[in-house]
């Protein structure tokens, strides 16, 4: 029997799960069009690799990723690409983003699949690569690319692999139904991940309000080492940090990741996706989503093709439009409202709630905080929500951060219990946003300052070097002159003019000798006849001329540097004079090159 720990705080909101668990998982009809955002998760957006009008097959990649962080997108069914355009996507801000629109042809014609039935005979890298190419991102919340997550830092060993079947948010039943009906696939996926990570323990954690799921998973894990742990129902026990605390008694260090304490959590939906990708060669093109709420006459759980418009799902579940007041993506505690039902289902969409006004009434107006401490009592992270609220509202970010604002997991419990109906989480989100913006600005300012200081230092260094060279030359010249004078004195007393002439001719002789030596070298750079002539003429006045050229060069270089850093700044700020500066830099670059060339020739 695994020992269970409790986490502080937590609540027991009305579950409302029965709404969508009365029927088995259903497959909705094929919608008219599928809209596939290029970015469905944390990380870099994918790049479309099909063109408008092209016919694609089910499971064919239609957008690829180049960077390490991100996953590709696949066609959920066969059909034609209608557009690659900006479309409304599921996002709290109701924004639009690049999407590929696919018109299904109803053929369901699969692209070639490559099952890895005997994955154990392959390298772990190959399996990880398959997971990545199959477009799998965490199907629970933020949608972290699964292959990246399955590669914990080199110095961290994952001892405990947890499959999170807690599903603690009210209304959501996607994991519950999946565990009931696809327990074998879930356990297979878990085994593949365990094979990759080689943990000492594998745990499937399920809240005790899902007895059917527990029974199904127990059956599927019979005879294996995997432990099925039934945990008490309490929100947010499905939160990664809370679940780890319940199962291990350990806390994930602030700012760290679970692997820091040897733990990794994966979602049950992710396990299904991994299993299908490896054993059947099927990329992630569908997911199990709960469609529920009292504005629906027929709520249920659906196996939905990614890209299916929410609208289509609502119709399938019997939407009563007049009753609908609030449309929520995700659960009632952490989900966000949609402005339009035309957004598509993406990899992280686990629940759609079509709520009536009675079901989730508009909150009463905000009252002053009475410091009742109920929020602190219930906060699972043991924060002081009312103080955070106070400081966030007053813009005292330093104090809010001091009270660990950034440890808030935005579970919504504090707002849920607040008798004064204060939307606390909203204040925290705003404060976090402001702090992030400030930090970014600081960083930018720091970078600019560093760049400026570096340039200043470089210019000083160059100046110093130039000075040193000049002194060196002056010293050499003085020595030469002294030598010449001594020679001349040896030869007998002469006028200063003659003396000068002698010094000059000595220099000329030296220069000629150097020239000859250079010319005789086979690897000497080709010099145009014209410049040869010039150099002949200049030979007599070589020393001062090099100085002038050097000055010219350093001036040009300095100018170039200035222009370059101006250009960098402009680019960083997206200023509109970037193009002009680019031209200026190119021009100065040429100038420097010319000066260098001239100097090199002069020195020859």
């Amino acid at each position: 029997m695994t020992q269970l720990w409790d986490f502080s705080g937590g609540i027991h909101p009305a579950e409302n799960k029965y709404l969508s668990t009365t029927r088995p998982i259903e497959t909705p009809t094929l919608p008219e069009r599928l809209v596939l955002p290029l970015q469905q998760h944390i990380g870099a957006p994918a790049e479309a690799c099909v063109s408008v009008g092209e016919r694609v097959l089910k499971g064919q990649p239609i957008a690829k990723v180049t960077g390490a962080f991100g996953v590709p997108v696949h066609a959920p069914t066969s059909g034609n690409i209608e557009a690659i355009s900006m479309q409304p996507v599921p996002h709290p801000s109701g924004m639009s983003d690049w999407c590929i629109t696919l018109i299904p042809d109803g053929q369901e014609e699969w692209a070639e699949r490559d099952p890895m039935t005997d994955y154990r005979s392959l390298t772990r890298e190959a399996v990880l690569q398959r997971i990545r190419e199959s477009g799998i991102a965490g199907l629970g919340g933020a949608g972290f690319p699964t292959d990246v997550k399955l590669r914990p830092p080199k110095d961290r060993k994952v001892n405990t692999l947890i499959l999170n079947g807690a599903e603690c948010e009210p209304y959501i039943t996607a994991d519950d139904m999946a565990m009931r009906e696809r327990a074998d696939e879930i356990v297979t996926g878990l085994r593949i991940m365990a094979w990759i990570l080689r943990p000492e323990r594998c745990i499937v954690a399920i809240e005790d309000n899902k007895p059917e799921a527990v029974a199904a998973i127990r059956k599927a894990t019979e005879g294996t080492q995997t432990e099925v742990v039934v945990i008490p129902t309490k929100y947010p026990s499905g939160g990664e940090k809370q679940l780890i605390q319940i199962l291990t008694g350990m806390e994930v260090p602030s700012g760290g990741i679970p692997a820091d304490i040897g733990v990794m959590c994966q979602n049950t939906g992710t396990a299904i996706a991994v299993s299908r990708a490896v054993l059947h060669g099927e990329p992630l093109i569908s997911r199990i989503t709960t469609v529920t709420g009292r504005a629906l006459s027929n709520p249920g759980t659906f196996d939905v093709l990614l890209g299916t418009p929410v609208e289509h799902l609502l119709t399938q579940a019997g939407l009563e439009s007049e009753a609908l007041r609030r449309l929520i993506l995700g659960g009632p505690m952490m989900g966000y409202t949609l402005e339009t039902p035309s957004v598509p289902v993406v990899k992280t969409t686990n629940c759609v709630i079509a709520a009536t006004g009675q079901e989730l009434p508009t909150p009463p107006p905000e009252q002053p905080c009475i410091r009742c401490g109920m929020c602190a009592e219930a906060c699972p992270m043991e924060l002081l929500p009312q103080q955070l609220f106070w400081h966030s509202k007053a813009g005292e970010h330093e104090k809010a951060e001091h009270l660990n604002l950034f440890d808030c997991i935005e579970c919504g419990i504090c707002s849920y219990v607040c008798p004064s109906s204060i939307p606390l989480v909203q204040y925290y989100r705003a404060a976090k946003g402001e702090i992030r913006v400030q930090r970014a600005e600081h960083l930018k300012a720091d970078r600019a300052r560093e760049r400026f200081e570096a340039r200043q230092a470089r210019l000083e260094r160059e100046q110093q070097e130039k000075e040193d060279r000049r002194k060196e030359r002056a010293r050499a010249a003085a020595e030469a002159q002294a030598r010449n004078q001594a020679e001349a004195e040896d030869a007998g007393p002469e006028s200063p003019a003659a003396d000068n002439r002698a010094a000059k001719s000595a220099l000329v002789e030296q220069a000629l000798a150097r020239k000859k030596a250079k010319a005789s070298q086979p690897a000497a750079p080709a010099v145009s006849p014209e410049s040869k002539g010039e150099s002949k003429v200049e030979t007599t006045e070589q020393a001062p001329d090099i100085d002038a050229l050097e000055k010219q060069l350093s001036q040009a270089t300095a100018k170039l540097n200035t222009m370059q850093s101006m250009l960098e700044d402009a680019r960083a700020e997206n200023a509109d004079n970037v193009e002009k500066l680019e031209r200026a830099v190119a021009k100065n670059h040429d100038r420097v090159k010319r000066a260098e060339k001239a100097l090199a020739e002069a020195r020859n």
Binding site: F7, S8, I11, P13, A14, K241, Q245, P253, S254, G255, G256, L324, R325, R326, L327, I328, G330, P332, M333, M334, G335, Y336, T337, L338, E339, A355, P363, Q367, P368, C369, I370, R371, C372, G373, A376, E377, P380, M381, E382, L383, L384, Q386, Q387, E398, K399, H402, L403, N404, D407, E410, G412, I413, S415, Y416, P419, S420, S421, P423, V425, Q426
Partner: protein, 350 residues
């Protein structure tokens, strides 16, 4: 389809502030009932008078401050302040004493600080302390003798007349000192047995006070059961008081015994209904324990060595002063951190 745009969480537990305050008010009923049975109509009349005045004063101040009147009156906090004053003032206190206390509570201690949630001091206790200091005679001589054992208990009208006319001379016949007062003043010259001979302690006054305290204890336990208050403050108030009494005053011939400390005066009312006022109390678990224990200790100190027989109001107010300090140094340790971040930013970062 008019879709509401709202931020999470979308579900809320429906137990608004007004509701909480109403439950607190209802929870005082057993205590009020005991007061009425044992000490006559006085407290009941006071309660009604104080609530009415508190609502009036709140409304007037909200109007002056340009705030929505109905919205704030509905939160029941002003009514609760009035109720608490009505319960704590002597039952036969003249009407103008109650009025001064209520007006000071609502106007000075609450609205001038910015209204609900912004007052650093417990409004009811500010009002109480003010009249206690200003009108000591009226405040100490108007404690009624228990009505039950009284030969001719004043009727409702008589009581009303006493309160309205405020004639001290008529009151003299009906009033006597509280058990706390009696014990404290006589123990220096007498033994405990002798002190307890006094009629205050017989079947009379002390028994009445015991029932009143039991009534408030019952209401308090119900509030705990309803999770409207947490155990920290009441337990630490009573614990602090008991601990002091055990450490300093086990000799009943020298000091008031623990039983009288717990069951006389405003002990239970203070521990469950007054010290737990969330606005002016400390907030974290640990902070609440310190805050409550501080009140318990101060109650003992003032009752034993101070000039006033009862001390709940002063103890609560003194600890209100300490709340910001306590709050700074008692934040809980956040999940995933090694230790709590105490103090103010910039120092003791942990």
């Amino acid at each position: 389809m008019a879709l509401a745009q709202q931020t999470s969480p979308h579900a809320r537990r429906a137990r608004p502030t007004s509701n909480l305050m109403l439950w607190v008010m209802l929870a005082t009923l057993p205590g009020l009932l005991a007061q009425t049975i044992f000490f006559g109509w006085g407290n009941l009349i006071n309660v009604i008078w104080c609530i009415a005045l508190a609502l009036g004063a709140e409304a007037a101040m909200l109007r002056l401050r340009g705030r929505p009147i109905a919205f704030f009156l509905k939160d029941n906090t002003a009514a609760l302040t009035g109720l608490l004053l009505g319960l704590s003032l002597p039952p036969l206190a003249p009407w103008w004493v109650s009025a001064v206390a209520v007006l000071a509570a609502i106007i000075l201690a609450k609205q001038l600080y910015g209204g609900l949630g912004s007052n650093p001091f417990n409004p009811a206790m500010v009002g109480y302390a003010l009249v206690l200091i200003s009108f000591p005679v009226a405040m100490t001589t108007t404690w009624a003798e228990p009505a039950l054992i009284w030969q001719s208990a004043p009727s409702l009208l008589e009581t009303l007349n006493i309160i309205v006319s405020g004639q001290q001379s008529t009151i003299d016949a009906f009033t006597m000192a509280t058990p706390l007062d009696q014990y404290k003043h006589n123990i220096s010259a007498q033994t405990s047995t002798e002190v307890l001979q006094h009629p205050t302690f017989g079947e009379g006054v002390a028994r009445g006070w015991e029932w009143v305290n039991a009534g408030f204890l019952l209401g308090g336990i119900w509030l705990l059961f309803m999770r409207i208050i947490t155990w920290n403050i009441p337990v630490s108030v009573l614990g602090g008081l008991a601990a002091m009494s055990v450490v300093f005053g086990t000799n009943a011939d020298l000091y008031t015994p623990l039983s009288i400390h717990l069951l006389a005066g405003a002990t239970m009312l203070g521990a469950f209904f007054i010290a737990t006022d969330p606005v002016s109390a400390a907030t974290s678990h640990q902070g609440k324990l310190i805050y409550g224990a501080g009140i318990g200790v101060l109650v003992y100190l003032i009752r034993t060595w101070g000039a006033y027989p009862d001390a709940v109001a002063f103890a609560v107010l003194l600890m209100n002063f300490a709340v910001p300090f306590i709050d700074y140094y008692t934040p809980p340790r956040t999940y995933g951190h090694h230790k709590a971040r105490r103090g103010i930013p910039g120092r003791n970062q942990g």
